[in-house]
Amino acid sequence: MIELPPFLIFFAAGVVAAVSPNIIRAALTVLVPAVSGLLLFNTDLGNYVSYQIFDYQGELYRLDELSRLFGYLFHIAAFIGGVYALHIKDRVQQISVFFYAGSALGAVMAGDLVTLFVFWEIAAISSVALIWARRTMRSYHSGMRYLIIQIASGILLLIGCVMLLGSGGEATFGYIGTDSLAGWLILAAFGIKAAFPFVHSWLTDSYPEATPTGTVFLSAFTTKLAIYALARGYPGTELLVYIGMMMTAFPIFYAVIENDLRRVLGYSMINQLGFMVCGIGIGTELAINGAVAHAFNDVIFKGLLFMSMGAVLHMTGKMNGSDLGGLYKSMPITTTLCIVGAASISAFPLFSGFVSKSMVMSAALSEDYLGVWLVLLFASAGVFHHAGIKIPYFAFFAHDSGIRTTEPPSNMLLAMAIAACLCIGIGCFPQYLYALLPCDTGYWPFDATHVIAQVQILFFSALAFVWLQLKGIYPPELRSVNLDVEWVYRRFVPRIWVGIRAWFARSMYSIMNVTTLILTWIHDHVTHHYGPKGTLSRSWSTGSMMLWVLVLLGSYLLLYFV
């Protein structure tokens, strides 16, 4: 078998897509993940492609248990997303998907930090095209903010790498830890992509602004890449337990009052990421397994939910809970598939979320994080509330909005169906997923305590929703803008900045006058001597050239004789 790094196949496809007609591009979006996935499936673990620049040894294709699992995952995500996007005829989106998926694969297969950084940045740059592809001013500005934050993450990573290498650290991407400043910087870089609290707003800001298909890809790669990087670089870092705990809890409140259903999914994504970060922070074999498995499942069920919402957006052009409702009559299949996704994210037994989320929670309990466990429990109930019930309820049931439409194109349905089958398949037969995990813990989710505890949570959570809804206390879907951390840089900082600028302008005015005078003098001086007609650049007469020859000869002779 040929050991070809998957990113090469995707990048090549991206180049081909740039010059080929639509029919070939569409075929590639499905064929490339399938072929590359098959190649990966038949490749044994090991290091394959290394390169050397000056003294630096890089590793382009490192396949171990962890990177293989994410490799499979990204291929599955790219394949499902490819099927879902088959009807798209937008060249920009198709090309950027290849580079985005390819760089995500490149990053998880990267064996050293510099290679990781390169793919980290390609992923950032190629993914922003999916946001801009919606071609509205909102998406343009949102994409710009997204890009700035992603690039900032890359720069932090680069600085961290350079410091790490400069202090004699290993170039190999393995455990990093927070013993040094470099370690903290790299953690910050990973943290931005993993949507840690206070730097999470790029996610909820940009994902709802991307194209219906773009969000599906965005939700699959960027954050999971960060989870992979955290799992490799910072397992067992206790701080992550509490960060993860916060991430599971705070988005619930936002999700409950948010109107844009894709933004609700964005918040629920942060909540799911919280479980993974928490698991990585706990750091036991069971917890890491849980985090990784949950990342795997999350890509599929969150992808399924984003796809179902994308289908609704595609068919109706609307995405606000207040505008939608009653769509189950015209979109029964989509409704069913969406409910499968909702059941999975809520961790119903026999659906995929259950088999992985419970691993993290068990690990938290067995490591005596009782408080954390309670917050996670609360978060599980909250997930069910906003993602499990709210999404399908407001989109497909609730009050009848009067919208009459049809099922989405068959490729969209097919993609959703594949994802739904995977959700149920993994939920019923988790042993196949467990076999791929990095550690072997012998964990089995279907024991009486787990199942009963989970069902109780779900039941009472549902009861609460029904009761609140009946009493009319449940926050209604309103058109509103909910303030999040992004307010700081979208409103607060600009306002402060305006103030500072006014003060600066006033105080600088006098200094500027003086500086202008000096600069004018310098400019005149430079043009006088260096400009096209200046002393130094006009053609000298042979006489003055000879003068310089003599001056030089004289000074040499002086130097040698004295």
């Binding site: 260096y530 096209p532 650049s537 053609s539 042979t542 000879m546 310089w548 020859v549 040499y556 004789f561």
Partner: protein
Amino acid sequence: MEHLPVLQVVIPLVLAPFCFVMARHTWLVALAGSVLSLVCSVLLLIQLLAVGTVDYFVGGWPPPWGIELRIDLLGGFVLLLVSLIAALVVTWAHDTVESEIRDDQINLFWCMFLLCLTGSFGIVVTGDVFNVFVFLEITSLSTYTMIALGRDRRALMASFRYLVMGTVGATFILIAVGLLYMMTGTLNMADLAVRLPAIQDTTTVRAAFAFFTVGVSLKIALFPLHQWLPNAYTYAPSAVTVFLAATSTKVSLYVLLRFFFTVFGADYVFGDLHVDYVLLPLSIVAIFVASIIAVYQEDLKRILAYSSVAQIGYMTLGISLANAQGLTAAIVHMFNHGLIKGGLFLAVGGLCLRIGSTRLSDLRGAGRTMPWTMGAIVIGGCALIGVPLTAGFVSKWYLVIAALEKDMWYVAVAIFTASIIAAAYVWRVIEHLYFQQGYAEASTLRSEVPLYMLLPTWLLIAMLIWLGIDTDLTVGIAERAAQSLVAP
């Protein structure tokens, strides 16, 4: 095989008269001459990589009676550069020569070109200081003629000024050779190196060294003796500009290295005479002043010409650091800069042919009508700045390392700052080519140059990228050459 050193010189020398007597198809003769020379120098370099130094006694007469040809790795490296550029220029130049030179003078032009090639090869292969002067004059005289063949009337004046300055430079070198001969009674470089140490503290030898240094500074166009260069590059026919810019100063630099390190010896030059006290400041001033002047030029050829003056400053800077790394950097930059300027001027020659001008104001928007030519200029410009993954980065990198090795951090800072100025003048070109609307775009007649002109250009440009990534060829050879110069 054993006659390769002499064949290198004889092939173009014998072919040159054919050009003179033939009325047509002289281009083919020049092509044959340059390609055969390339084959020669490649074979020579392979031989040199194995054995290090090749000696050849002309006519079988050993020195000190006969003339000795002596080539080491440095020589082989310069031969490769010169013959490679020559072969590419001739391949490329068929159309531009026909458009820029009067029909009845084309055969003369190619004759001069081959003579110039002869001279350049001769300077490199010979082991005799008087021969160096002779070949230098052959090169110079043929170059004056070629520049004067340019259609622009200002070419005559440029050629004349170059003639005056070049002759002064050559005379100074001749005076130095004469003084040395007077003191030692020999002209053979190896003999001189043996006999000089005994008498090196006499004023005569010191004067000889001063004359030589100034003479060769003129030939390499070291600031402030660079004044002949911008006009010569600007008004010469395109093919001549390419060949001059890529090889002539490099060959003169080779002469400088040969005299400094082989004839006089590094200990004498840097230890006793401290030539670096003058050379180092001049180099830094050259880098800055020439770069700043380049920013303000209105003509693309002049921008590149002043940039050449600045780049020569980098090379002499490396030499005046007087350690093995600095020398390596200088030799690598000599080769890399030859390729960079060769590639750039080939592209500019294409512009000359299609647009008929190299003034920036006439080139506005040409990036859209001649994408391949402009692409070459962009990549070549990046290499000139020293962007990583191009050849220019490698040589500047080694230069910075050499400076830091000697704790001259201010030199390293100067190199970085000058790179920013280089970025300024390259950007100015790119801005005119791509971001301004204008004449070159509006005209429908302008189109890309033919493939056989693009191929040599892009071959050089591709080499820039290749040598920026794989440095085995350049740095490997330069390191060995520098070692053998410092510790013969």
